[in-house]
Subunit: 240 residues, 2 copies
Amino acid sequence: MSRKEPRLYFPHDLKQGVSLALSHDQTHYLMNVMRLGSGDHVRLFCDEHGEWRAKLDVQGKKKAGVVVLDHLRAPQTRPFLGLAFTPLRPHRLSFLVEKAVELGVSDLFPVLTKYTAVRHVNEDKLRAAAIEAAEQCERLDVPTLHPLQDLGQFCGNLTPSQHLYFCHERQEGGLLWDHAGSPPKFPLILVGPEGGFDAQEVTFLKGLPGVTSVSLGQGILRAETAALAALSLFHGAPRA
Amino acid sequence: MSRKEPRLYFPHDLKQGVSLALSHDQTHYLMNVMRLGSGDHVRLFCDEHGEWRAKLDVQGKKKAGVVVLDHLRAPQTRPFLGLAFTPLRPHRLSFLVEKAVELGVSDLFPVLTKYTAVRHVNEDKLRAAAIEAAEQCERLDVPTLHPLQDLGQFCGNLTPSQHLYFCHERQEGGLLWDHAGSPPKFPLILVGPEGGFDAQEVTFLKGLPGVTSVSLGQGILRAETAALAALSLFHGAPRA
């Protein structure tokens, strides 16, 4: 097995022949972590320009650039798959984001509910976790991270074409699995905090159009596991 | 929301009225982490005796026992759901085990393949991770952790009633999703190492009876994500 060329998310104007500077972190990663030198190949990608091969050009101990060579993959339009989740402790939240990126999420919506214990998110850290996961998993895009909203705002911003699956712990009724075979065009998954949803929130959500209340089965899943289990169901399913 | 009583996996002869000693770790957890004192309630469970309520009896700064009170839940027979996985770096492996326990796995099979980078597992640590996850997620049992085997041994030990889904990255052909609607009675999932399976291993696996080679979709999933995505499909599905 030949070793794969490192990939960097690089949202700049990528085209053949241009020279571009690398950030301090990117330089450190390529030179010190991956131990590359001048002339070694890397791959650059972004949502708009797809993936390109480039050549590393070391200019000093802590300074390097790249020269863009050939086009490897055209940009892709990713089908919409939204995940709404409440903030969690940093370790579990980074994990949730990493796995959600691998499982093809297109939009991340942090949402506050009544029983959300952690009341803020570090957007920079979450975005960095999303980029790192995209670099690792051969994606050509990085999901959109939406600003933190409360549950009412989030629901108010849903469009008529979006369909929200409200994952309700211990709820009686349909399993999400019953819906996963032929998901709608714009599916969104909402997973609650460790403390669950408040009764008023449940009533509110159940009363909204375009919302289906579903269960994730009998077991008790942690918030991040519930998100991943739900995303897994849509990851491989053909979209309606 | 009332706080739930802490749960401890406690594979002893649980019955009403008996007094039992707690281990050093259990005592520390209840007294120092959960800050419980004499008379506070905890829950004890094991595969054989189900779940019981018990009363903490503090006997010293670092010494405590319990008195078993009433029976809360009868033991459950869990349907067989096996996961075969290659060793990973400790952080990712603990995570894999934690999530597999939540997603209802009954049997964990660490397996060595040609490209497995990490060549051993710390069985005590894995078992501890499985127990902790079971304590958290309201399971009444802890999955069986089988000893490390190489791929040939593992396949040689499969029984005719078991059906192995060999999750093969980038493979052409059926998706695991096509099989998840009506899984067989004894499904097993096999997920490879980061480096993938060797060509000879693929030929070997495809030639075995009771093995179906399946894909997990177009994305590249890390080993632990692949395991979780695959388990998620069987977690909620009714068994044939």
